[in-house]
């Protein structure tokens, strides 16, 4: 166990910043008012915080905090769970696309120290990487298509 009070405080601070960014962004982009969305956002922050704490407590598991956050929310929102109604009612006020914009704004800035490294790569790497992206995506999509069809789901 490696729980650390300072680090937990830092996590909370960062999560609150991100929460505020999402609330402002979704007010502008999707017309969700800040006050009704606040309880849902607090729940989202709490689950995110728990996910980080679990990840730090079990470093051997190699399961990312992102996946823990999904898993906790998944369990709480399953139809036969008593928490489902309450949980979904509030988290529905947090817009899905609204959560993505701050992530990618941070992500865009964060690659700033990789531009010089990127310039050193050969154009061949660029082409090969595109082929890797396409191969992975359509490889999975084609198998999924076949199996879903065999199962009669689509």
């Amino acid at each position: 166990m490696s729980l650390n009070f300072d680090r937990s405080l830092e996590y909370l601070k960062m999560l609150i910043i991100v929460g505020v960014l999402i609330l402002i962004g979704q007010r502008i982009g999707y017309g969700v008012n800040v006050m009704p969305a606040l309880p849902g956002m607090l729940i989202v922050i709490l689950i995110s915080f728990i996910a980080l704490t679990i990840k730090d407590s079990f470093p051997g598991l190699k399961f990312p905090a992102f996946a823990w956050a999904s898993l906790i929310a998944l369990i709480l929102s399953m139809p036969f769970m008593p928490t489902a109604d309450f949980f979904l009612r509030y988290t529905n006020e947090v817009n899905f696309l609204g959560t993505t914009t701050p992530i990618l704004a941070f992500a865009g800035i964060s690659v700033g120290n990789k531009i010089e490294k990127l310039k050193k790569l050969s154009w061949k790497v660029f082409i090969v990487a595109i082929a890797v992206f396409i191969g992975t995506y359509f490889g999975s999509a084609i198998i999924a298509q076949i199996v879903l069809k065999l199962q009669g789901i689509i």
């Binding site: 956002m41 865009g108 990127l118 191969g135 359509f138 999975s140 999509a141």
Partner: protein, 286 residues
Amino acid sequence: MKKSSEKQEEKMGKSNFNSFIKLCLTVLFIVVITEMFGTKTFRLGPGRVVLLPMLFAVVIGMLITPDLLGSKIESLKKIISMEEVKMAGSYVMIALLPLGVKYGTLVGPNIVEVVKAGPAFLLQELGNLGTVFIALPLALFLGMEREAVGATASISREPTLGVIGEKYGISSPEGTGVLGTYLMGTVFGTIFFGLLGGYSAATGLHPLALAMASGMGSGSMMAAASGALAEAVPEMKDGILAYAATSNMLTGVTGLYSVIFLGLPLVNFLYDKLYPFFSKKNRGDK
């Protein structure tokens, strides 16, 4: 002595705080203008291109960094310096968590359908090996050698980086290859999949199959691909997002083992078969 170190610490704390404020205000600014601009979609040939606010956000974020626009505009460098760039990295991981929660809330209510599709979820993980069949021959054709093994064994997210680094060393040719694809994915992955996700609906593959494919082990790439796909096929939005999130979670579990036991052996096997053919051809060219 003690005093000066204290002073230094105070100074460090202060510059840290300044960076924090500058970074957060910059991101707020990006969020506000991209959300005001909103989602843009347009037809292109048989498909629809979906440009979500997140796509504009990543492009703007990248452009304002010191080595791009910052190198031209001095005052921009004062706001976003390498210090803020470094800090932004740790915020990405945190900012992903609310999205993770949202994805969970999309899977939960649909859990019965998702479990029913279990076999498809498991088998499509093998589809990630598709990269080996398409990208490896191309890499060899372009004259790459052992770099090709690292570059095409998988989509080169963090687990693959670890596996190849451990097996061959990160400064080996294989290491150079995997770092190349990793870097490309980190910088251009979300942009590429943001465009491909919406457009791929035109291929005739079922949106749910495409949704499964968008879970590749990267939260932001999955968000870009499935978000755009959901905008392109809005009537299936919930199913698309639930399938994508489940597939991504599954890749988080299986990804590492799939590289060790399937991806690397396969890419090495094919390399041995194909390399003689391509090296002869490349020599012939010269």
